[in-house]
């Protein structure tokens, strides 16, 4: 029974169950739902590093997603570079953007930082539309459906699913490490009180920037991988601010600043959204968004620490 208390063991079981669920999902519709859930769990977890741990609420994370997606797709379509290289490179380019954004905005606080991140995402949206020759403009870019490992295009949805689960495992591993390391403590301290943190020797700018870089890398990788799955990208899908707010919402509902919170958020809200959309999408356009919004509001007002955060709190209280 001691084994069950081992974190590593618990996560291993979680990922095996997750893969098993995908393996036994007997049609592509269910697999698509699973992929969407895991994809958003990845993105929310990556956002959580900077939004949850460091307390820097970014609503421009879609910029990293889009840049990652465009980097790998353009490299593949124009230069024939395999997405095997293109996908991690997408993460690196997103990191480079994060470095630039960091120098410009990391000194800003609260809503000012948030607004500046929106602005950057919007700038990239406009650029993606304008640079028609490179990005295909508003028509977007198609990745030809030619299944092969070199092209990172697969017939089976399960392969994509495995890739997304692997990405999620990598993100969870990194965040779990950060959680107990100096960086994690410093980021939480920065979120709580910047003046007090710097008086304890915390280089605030450096650690905020670290958080932003790690977060951007995973978001970029996720974006590139998602492009391979969709086989189509256009500015309005990969540079829409709605994506950023959704990712932030998943983390907030699940519980920010925890490893598990964003995953819980995605596993509850993503299927809910898909369900609501399929129920009301035809007859009452937009009703699902309304219901979704009400649930979000209820969580923020009633349990501001999120579902997982509240669960942990009540567990601690019972222990006492």
């Amino acid at each position: 029974m001691k084994l069950l208390h081992n974190q590593l063991f618990r996560w291993a079981i979680f990922f095996i169950v997750l893969l098993g669920a995908g393996f036994f999902a007997d049609n592509n519709y269910y697999l698509d739902i699973l992929i969407t859930i895991v994809f958003y769990a990845c993105m929310a977890s990556a956002w959580n590093i900077v939004g949850g741990y460091a307390g820097q609420v970014s609503v421009g994370h879609v910029a990293f997603l889009g840049l990652g997606a465009y980097t790998s797709t353009i490299l593949f379509l124009k230069l024939g570079v395999s997405p095997i290289i293109g996908i991690p490179l997408g993460g690196v380019v997103a990191m480079a953007l994060a470095l630039g954004i960091g120098f410009l905005t990391i000194r800003l606080h609260g809503p000012f930082f948030t607004l500046s991140t929106i602005a950057i995402a919007e700038i990239l949206l406009v650029l993606a539309i304008r640079f028609h020759g490179l990005t295909g403009g508003s028509e977007g870019l198609n990745i030809p459906y030619e299944p092969s490992v070199y092209n990172v295009v697969f017939k089976s949805y399960f392969v994509y699913y495995t890739l997304f689960v692997a990405l999620m495992a990598a993100i969870v591993a990194v965040i779990s490490y950060i959680n107990t390391s100096r960086t994690g403590y410093y980021l939480r301290a920065i979120r709580e009180d910047e003046t007090a943190s710097s008086s304890l020797g915390v280089d605030i700018l450096q650690f905020k920037l670290r958080a932003l870089l790690i977060s951007a890398f995973f978001t970029g990788v996720g974006g590139a991988l998602y492009a391979q799955y969709l086989l189509f990208i256009d500015p309005h899908t990969v540079f829409t601010v709605a994506f950023s707010t959704k990712v932030a919402a998943l983390s907030i509902v699940g519980g920010i600043g925890t490893v598990i919170g964003p995953i819980v958020g995605s596993f509850i809200l993503t299927p809910l959204e898909i369900f609501l959309r399929s129920q009301f999408g035809g007859t009452y356009q937009g009703l699902y968004l309304l219901i979704y919004g009400v649930i979000m509001l209820a969580v923020i007002v009633l349990i501001p620490k999120g579902i997982y955060g509240t669960f942990v709190d009540s567990k601690n209280r019972n222990r006492r």
């Binding site: 939480r188 301290a189 009180d193 304890l200």
Partner: protein, 240 residues
């Protein structure tokens, strides 16, 4: 150890700290007093790097640290507490102290070990798993001292650590300060309560409207007519 030369800090036209020069000798306890709004905390903020001085210089062990940011000064061995306590409210007491301990111990276990030993030294290890927001002020103030100590400072700046405490708690903190000093930490302390300062300080600096009006041993400062005037006003002085 700490040398302050003609430091001035202006906010717009207001000179919150006006041409202050003084030294803090290694191993001493120096008190900083003055009426409300006399610039004590501003001087602390300039020394610790929260504000940059408008003019003048600050040296720590003969190194110019006038324009360094707060985290760099902490790295060099200067730690501080805040008048209005600033605990990290949502993480436990030991984690609060670990944030300080991580400065020179990048390893998680070593930082935890150091944090725990400091909590024990200050006699607050029984609160290690509580969140500071649920603790009384006296404990919060001790957590602040513990957190600052965890950075292993050479000099510790304490900003009214006894403010708002009852007499027993005040005595406890006084004893703690003396104990830390005996362990070799130089201490500069802002305090409102004259009794406390008189009991522990070897030298007392008095600020009034940003200016240093007295600097001497406590017994002399207490009788200084300028100091009495600053605290009690002209009339009282006239009657004496």
């Amino acid at each position: 150890m700490l040398t302050i030369r003609q430091v001035t800090k202006e906010f717009g036209g207001l000179k919150a700290v006006n041409d202050v020069s003084c030294t803090v000798e290694k191993g001493s306890i120096v008190g900083l007093i003055g009426p409300n709004g006399s610039g004590k905390t501003t001087l602390f903020n300039v020394i610790s790097g929260v504000y940059k001085p408008t003019s003048g210089s600050i040296e720590l062990d003969h190194e110019d640290i006038s324009y360094l940011g707060p985290h760099k000064k902490t790295m060099m061995g200067m730690a501080r507490t805040f008048q209005v306590v600033k605990p990290f409210k949502n993480i436990s007491v030991i984690e609060n102290v670990m944030v300080g301990a991580f400065l020179h111990n990048h390893n998680h276990l070593k930082a935890e070990e150091l944090a725990l030993s400091i909590l024990k030294r200050l006699d607050i290890d029984q609160y290690q798993h509580d969140q500071p927001k649920n603790l009384p002020l006296a404990i919060k103030k001790k957590v602040e001292i513990a957190r600052a100590l965890a950075t292993t400072p050479k000099i510790l700046l304490l900003d009214e650590v006894m403010g708002g405490l009852n007499p027993q708690e005040t005595d406890q903190v006084l004893q703690t300060i003396v104990k830390l000093n005996k362990e070799g930490i130089t201490i500069m302390v802002i305090e409102h309560k004259m009794r406390c300062i008189m009991a522990i300080a070897e030298k007392v600096l008095v600020l009034d409207s940003g200016k240093l009006i007295a600097m001497d041993v406590p017994e002399v400062v207490a009788k200084d007519p300028n100091v009495i005037k600053a605290y009690l006003g002209d009339e009282y002085h006239a009657e004496n």
